[in-house]
Symmetry: C2
């Protein structure tokens, strides 16, 4: 028998779904991007889904249920924005074990409600079931976009700029911090965890936002990305997805990586390499995109956007350029659920 | 703290989602029917979702993974047909523990593939994650319908006929049979379970079908149901949903209930009341609908459709009429996941 871990998450999905040809004319795009695309004439429907399992994706010892609900919704909105679409509806399914009370689920839904209000999304359906084991949350988000607005992962061109909408690695370091304090306080009910000086890292981990503001800014600046996705598994892994699907190479520059100072300080304390955290820590939910170099002047005034590299010919490979100017092959060591 | 079981499944969803007003003009219908309805101009998108958890919805001791995959997809198609729509896309999310091999997941996907091929539906997305505990399957199905074709649960009118597309209680009895044989053979590896004479019940439980054929027949006969839903939780519970949402009463006749002879025989053997099984056993996935009495002549030639009662004024209440002519108030003792 073949172990699931032999494939890894992406390999497994790819393997399991490779014999599913699309047959309906309404199925414009299936598996392989941030969202599927369905044709309805002028208006296209975008569909994305995520499943979150207790003990794998979250630990209720340190994640408040309200934040969990918010995050479960927002990470799906992020996938719709990553297609340059507008999230409009979600359906939420829960599996809940007997240790959960109605009040706990109310907290979870308070978080979902806040996310829906903040991003203008309607909760339109779901399913709720008991579970023998902990909490499972499955969210599907429906969005819309005009055909000509949709941005896939496969449109990056040689010479394009490679951009990201914010700093990287902070969500991963927030998780390390929560885990460090949990272990330090195990069995100790007298003390409180010490998060002083690292509040931003906690926020990045516990209450991430989807970058609607970036989508709006790009539209206002008349910048149309050639390829885009959100950074959920780690920058390296996502850059490689864009390059592979677009049939191009890239240069990603170490000295261009946006890193928050709290992330740098905690990485130092914990003896972690901050560049590795920025490249491979997941859950940043920033938008990673490429756009033509002709848009450079339009990009400059947008101070939320960082140019971190550029696209090259495929033959040049996918490269990370160190501060010393050394070229290293990009490696996907992204956050893996297996 | 309030126990979840104090609410029951429907009460819980209603309670948790009551402060989620719809704000997008594209959100035509939210929670409360077989599927949500989203506006795209002429074409409406239907969305339904189901979560299946190991040990709650299925027991892998007697459910083959291929059948489980088939059923997980088909029950969602059934919800789209119950809106008089056409299922076109599904997304499938899995949580999988380490005891599952790639080959086991291939079997599951073989079943999903067969369901997709049979019903003309495309798999367009999903998410796969490891789980600490068993198998979780979350399926969301997207369908389409023209506005004027969509059938909600709330359109039943006084005087309408109450119809169902097939016999009831067999899936529930199939489950009782599987459970009986599992217990009988516990620890005995020499013998095989004895299903002789009850093959149809097993099929109804393990490989249910969605009634696309009925939707096609009704269309061909120019019958437009006034209200419709599928029978997943039990006939009583579903009839009450239609009556409550339509603001009407009903009479449902014991002697009109379609019951398969295998179901009757097994109920007798197991000392179960077959009428109770037909009223409250879930997972039949037949279509329950109402239509104007003027359609009676068009219904008669359709031998797959059974008229089981009629709609009355709300003041008459929701009644079950026994063979003896006695009126009893309908009770929802439907299959509950809590």
């Amino acid at each position: 028998m073949t172990q699931i871990s032999d494939y890894g998450e992406f390999g497994l999905i790819k393997h399991l779904t490779e014999n599913f040809p699309l047959t309906n004319t309404s199925s414009l795009k299936g598996i392989g991007d941030d969202a599927a695309v369905i044709d309805n004439g002028e208006r296209k429907t975008l569909v994305t889904t995520d499943i979150l399992l207790e003990g794998i994706h979250f630990n209720l010892e340190y994640v408040p249920l309200r934040h969990l609900g918010y995050k479960a919704a927002v990470v799906n909105f992020s996938d719709i924005y990553a297609m340059n679409g507008k999230p409009e509806q979600i359906v939420v399914s829960l599996g809940v074990s007997a240790r959960f009370s109605v009040e706990m689920l109310e907290e979870l839904y308070d978080g979902i409600r806040l996310a829906c209000q903040t991003y203008g999304v309607d909760l339109v359906g779901g399913d709720t079931s008991s579970s023998l084991t902990g909490l499972t949350i499955s969210v599907t988000c429906i969005g819309s976009a005009k055909q000509e607005e949709i941005v896939y992962r496969n449109g990056a061109k040689d010479g394009d700029l490679l951009c990201v909408s914010g700093n990287l690695g902070a969500a991963y370091l927030g998780l390390q911090l929560l885990e460090r304090e949990r272990i330090a306080l195990k069995g100790n009910t007298q003390s409180q965890p010490d998060f002083a000086g690292f509040e931003y890292l906690l926020q990045r981990q516990l209450k991430p936002e989807a970058r609607k503001d970036i989508i709006d800014e790009l539209k206002a600046a008349a910048i149309m990305p050639t390829a885009m996705m959100d950074v959920s598994d780690g920058l390296s892994s996502e850059v490689m997805h864009i390059c592979t699907q677009s049939g191009v190479g890239c240069r990603l520059y170490e000295d261009k990586l946006p890193i928050d100072y709290q992330a740098a300080v905690l990485a130092e304390q914990m003896n972690l390499n901050i560049v590795t955290c920025a490249l491979n820590g997941g859950e940043d939910y920033e938008l990673l995109f490429t756009c033509p170099i002709a848009d450079y002047d339009k990009l400059l005034p947008l101070d939320k956007i960082f140019i971190i590299g550029h696209i090259t010919d495929k033959a040049d490979g996918m490269n990370f350029v160190t501060r010393e100017g050394q070229l290293m092959e990009l490696q996907a060591q992204g956050w893996k659920a297996f």
